[in-house]
């Protein structure tokens, strides 16, 4: 190393002398030869500088305390995303098994058990609804799993039509007549209760239909899980390796999904029922999972998922997440760390959500102020994520070339 440095130094001195001569105005008219020589000198200089810089970094050894995006991806990918897909897949498997049990001999007990399994599967789904990237995106699975409000007319037509009911038949249906919301429609009757639900299952076709729905869902869940698992599709490796800074990098994709889910909760799950798209006319039937009455619990799952990814939290372990990223780049908001502002806003949302005591579809009219409050808190989070966080990531997320701001 030392020898190398001395050699470089010697080279530098020679070069400096030589080039000093070269740039002395020897003749009034510089000729082509000089220009060419000058060009070569510049090239040599560049080379020399590069060598010098290389040797410098070699000597100082390892890099400083820069933020490592691949660590963030590694943590979120391995400890949050992959387990979440695995649990979802398990829950759809349980749901399918229970549906088959129910199909053998429909009873109120088995119906309740099936309903509970549906609730579990749906809650687990809300934990992965954010990861519309990789397998979920390529398989276009998002809407096949959950597209609400479900199309009850289409479902009844699908059951009553002449076609034989099978998993393949379900796969051929439009997304608004399958997936979790369709199963919910078949399993829950908010007005007339479980007895009425059981009565509808007097039809064998209806029974086959719900089993096929569960089969279809389970197949999708297995395939998504396989797509992420290291031993099969291993999108995890791809996800972790895309640790760059461009619009297609995982950090950007994930940050975007974080925002998309927040916006979806705000607009679709709360805003539309509140009448935010219908000139103030409330739409309780557009509430997610109103038949089972668990909409707020599902929103809570979404918020937990957002919180986990933001903090890099899995279970009780607080790993590297976006909060650490923001702290590393010293992102500020109103004089305090931005990470704290966002964390506080997530808490505000949870508080606002817990302040609603009734199921969401009833709260729209009975607890309008509380629902509006939840909506406003969600809006504040969107602003923080979409402007402050994205801006502070320093990633210059662009969709084409950029030289503007």
């Amino acid at each position: 190393m030392k020898q190398k440095s001395q050699y470089i130094l010697a080279q530098a001195t020679t070069l400096a002398q030589a080039s000093a001569c070269a740039f002395m105005p020897k003749h009034k008219h510089d000729n082509i030869a000089t220009v060419v020589v000058t060009g070569k000198r510049i090239l040599l200089y560049t080379l020399f500088l590069t060598v010098l810089l290389t040797s410098c970094t070699e000597e100082t050894g390892e890099a400083g305390e820069e933020f490592n995006r691949s660590q963030l991806l590694e943590n979120i990918g391995s400890n949050i995303i992959v387990p979440a897909f695995a649990t979802f897949s398990q829950s759809t498997m349980t749901l399918l098994e229970q549906a088959k049990l129910f199909a053998e001999a429909p009873s109120e007990n088995r119906l309740t058990a099936l309903q509970d399994d549906w609730k579990t599967a749906t809650q687990r789904w809300e934990q992965i609804a954010m990861y519309d990237l990789g397998p979920m995106e390529t398989q276009d699975a998002m809407t096949s799993i959950s597209n609400f409000p479900t199309n009850t007319i289409a479902i009844e037509e699908a059951i009553g039509g002449g076609s034989e009911i099978s998993e393949a038949y379900i796969a051929s249906l439009g997304s608004s007549s399958k997936g979790l919301p369709a199963i919910e429609y078949l399993l829950f009757d908010k007005e007339n209760g479980n007895e009425a639900v059981l009565n509808t299952f007097a039809s064998d076709k209806r029974i086959s239909f719900i089993v096929a729905l569960c089969e279809n869902l389970n197949t999708i869940a297995i395939s998504l899980n396989a797509g992420w698992q290291p031993e099969s599709g291993n999108y995890l490796a791809t996800f972790t390796s895309m640790d760059g800074k461009d619009a297609g990098s995982s950090v950007v994709l994930l940050a975007n999904q974080l925002i998309i889910l927040t916006e979806s909760v705000k607009n679709k799950k709360v805003g539309i029922p509140l009448g935010k798209k219908s000139l103030g006319q409330m739409l309780p039937k557009d509430v997610e999972a109103w038949r089972s009455g668990i909409s707020l619990a599902l929103i809570a799952e979404n918020i937990t998922a957002i919180d986990n990814v933001f903090r890099g939290k899995s279970g009780t372990v607080d790993g590297i997440g976006f909060d650490d990223y923001l702290d590393q780049v010293n992102a500020q908001y109103e004089g305090a760390p931005l990470s704290q502002a966002i964390a506080a806003q997530l808490t505000n949302i949870s508080t606002a959500q817990q302040a609603i005591s009734l199921p969401l579809q009833d709260a729209l009219t009975a607890e309008t102020a509380q629902v509006e409050k939840l909506y406003d808190e969600l809006q504040r989070l969107v602003v923080l994520l979409k402007t402050d966080m994205m801006s502070s990531l320093g990633l210059l997320v662009t969709f084409s070339d950029n030289d503007g701001d």
Binding site: F23, T54, F67, V329, G335, L384, D405
Partner: protein, 551 residues
């Protein structure tokens, strides 16, 4: 004044223009192909349902999809034409018109370097860069297909202004970009580089440095100093090599750090115009040698055992040996060197060969040089602004006035921001077309609220239903775009039967990493606001930040 006129009309070698033309054509050709390959024609000009035209250019609309692609293919062809010097003036005109048309469709896609490309292609229309032969040492060796087609139309010299105006244009870009950097955030806070650089710690060599604030300061100050001085340093022989090295280093650095597209390469290529003619002549010679080498290698490959001389196709030989000799370059070179009468080696004689060059017009049109066509071609008015009085057509001076106006406008237009109250970076009134490049980190989020005054009903608009993510992002920080979209919403609701919809924008913006805050007056009914040059009073003035916030 007279001296100045003499100076700008002084005949000078056309060589820099040839290189300039070829570099511009080549980079544009690559740009156009790249643009199409990246799918941006679809993303930017076919997919959107709504466009943000420029004020006063609302009549400019995108064409149907197939025609939009055709426009880009035509632009690529025009760029090729510019590069090869084929139907040069048509190519330059077509390129300017098509490119400018495309840029005017949607503000979303505004980039300073697109503006720059429009301006350069406009200027290229006025110069005979396609009617050139390569000058002194290799007179008679053309470097343009137009001249190959019509040798008599060639010039070896042009008045200096034809080169100087490109230098001036580049100088304006740099200098104004430098002026724009002279603001408190850039110089005193090293913002936004302090936000952008730490992301690049993974770069080889320089990466680990990027986390330090002093590096951001160094980049900021060097950037400003570079922009302000480089056009001047490029003008002088002593400083030029260093300045050009700085150009290369600066632009490569920006290319590594930012998603800035083709801009660095445009600038690295075009700033060569500051080098003297000799440099360009030798560059052209090298290129010719390269082409002839490639050609010979190819020929050897094809015709085994045959002599490489002669027999090569005309098309292949265009760049190397066309003109008064049909022999191969190597031979031609030697021959040429042996003809001291026509090609004196003393440069000063070059421009004063009697009968060959008019020092007034800077035009070379000697039948001696072009034995194929003894008849002198008609003098182009473009080339001869100062032809004797009697010949002065009414339009002879026209283009010079146009160009003078063009530059006066360029010098003045970027200052219009001074006429608006408020902070420029916040309001963006007078921001575009002013060489403000990579100056701020700004992000916004806007929610549109629509009210029906008849019923009191209130809705929110899903912006993403109408706009692409890029449009949404660009609109969120730019008041004029928000206003345009508000008008679009107003019209949508009118169509749905709400006669007087009230459209309000709840917009939050963060600038240079300071906390997001309300951007526009959320109570103003944008449906009733007019777009225009006047100040938009509904932009909330940016309050000064406390020290703690400004970290």
């Amino acid at each position: 004044m007279k001296h100045l006129l003499q100076r700008i009309n002084q005949p000078t070698s056309i060589a820099p223009l040839i290189v300039f033309r070829m570099v511009f054509g080549a980079v544009m050709l690559v740009s156009m192909v790249r643009f199409m390959l990246k799918g941006w024609v679809y993303e930017q000009y076919i997919k959107p349902q709504f466009y943000f035209p420029y004020f006063g250019f609302e009549w400019i609309r995108p064409l149907p999809p197939a025609a939009m692609y055709a426009v880009f293919v035509l632009m690529a062809m025009a760029a090729l034409g510019i590069m090869l010097g084929l139907y040069y003036r048509w190519s330059a005109t077509a390129f300017f018109l098509l490119f400018t048309y495309v840029e005017l469709i949607d503000k979303t896609n505004y980039l300073n370097h697109y503006y720059f490309v429009s301006l350069i292609s406009f200027l290229l229309i006025w110069v005979p860069a396609g009617r050139c032969h390569a000058g002194r040492r290799h007179a008679g060796r053309y470097f343009s297909l137009d001249v190959w087609r019509e040798p008599a139309s060639a010039y070896s010299q042009v008045p200096f202004w034809m080169i100087g105006m490109f230098q001036l244009q580049l100088g304006i870009v740099y200098f104004y970009a430098g002026l724009a950097k002279l603001n408190a955030d850039w110089l005193l806070e090293a913002l936004p580089l302090k936000i952008w650089l730490p992301v690049h710690t993974d770069l080889p060599l320089i990466g680990p440095l990027m986390q330090y604030a002093w590096v951001a300061y160094a980049f900021s100050w060097f950037g400003a100093l570079y922009d302000l001085t480089v056009p001047f340093l490029l003008l002088y022989r002593q400083t030029r090599p260093w300045a050009y090295a700085a150009v290369v280093v600066f632009h490569i650095t920006t290319w590594l750090l930012f998603p800035i597209g083709m801009f660095p390469f445009i600038m690295i290529g075009l700033t060569l115009i500051f080098f003297p003619a000799r440099f360009h002549e030798s560059l052209i010679d090298s290129l010719k040698r390269l082409i002839s080498f490639v050609k010979h290698t190819l020929m050897r490959g094809i015709m085994v055992g045959e002599d490489t001389d002669h027999g090569d196709g005309r098309m292949v030989s265009v760049f190397t040996d066309h003109g008064d000799s049909n022999e191969d370059t190597d031979h031609g070179d030697r021959k040429q060197a042996l003809s001291p009468v026509l090609y004196p080696h003393k440069p000063e004689q070059h421009s004063t060969i009697p009968g060959l060059v008019s020092s007034q017009t800077g035009t070379v049109l000697s039948p001696v040089l072009y034995p194929h066509k003894p008849k002198p071609a008609a003098l182009s008015p473009v080339l001869c602004p100062h032809k004797p009085e009697k010949n002065k057509a009414p339009y002879a001076h026209f283009y010079q006035y146009v160009l003078a106006l063009f530059f006066v406008w360029q010098l003045l237009f970027p200052w219009r921001f001074l006429l608006y109250p408020g902070e420029l970076f916040w309001t963006e009134q007078g921001y575009r077309f002013s060489w403000r490049v990579m100056l701020m980190e700004k992000a916004g989020y806007v929610t549109f609220h629509v009210k029906d005054p008849a019923t009191g009903g209130e809705s929110e608009v899903s912006v993403s239903e109408y706009l692409t993510p890029n449009q949404e992002k660009m609109m969120a920080t730019q008041p004029d775009m928000i206003l345009q979209f508000a008008h679009f919403i107003r019209d949508q609701y009118r169509q749905q039967g709400i006669e007087q919809p009230i459209v309000q924008a709840e917009a939050y913006v963060t600038l240079n990493g300071r906390g997001s805050r309300l951007f526009l007056d959320p109570d103003v009914n944008l449906a009733k606001m007019e777009d225009g040059w006047q100040h938009k009073s509904w932009i909330i003035a940016k309050q000064p930040y406390t020290a703690a916030q400004a970290q």
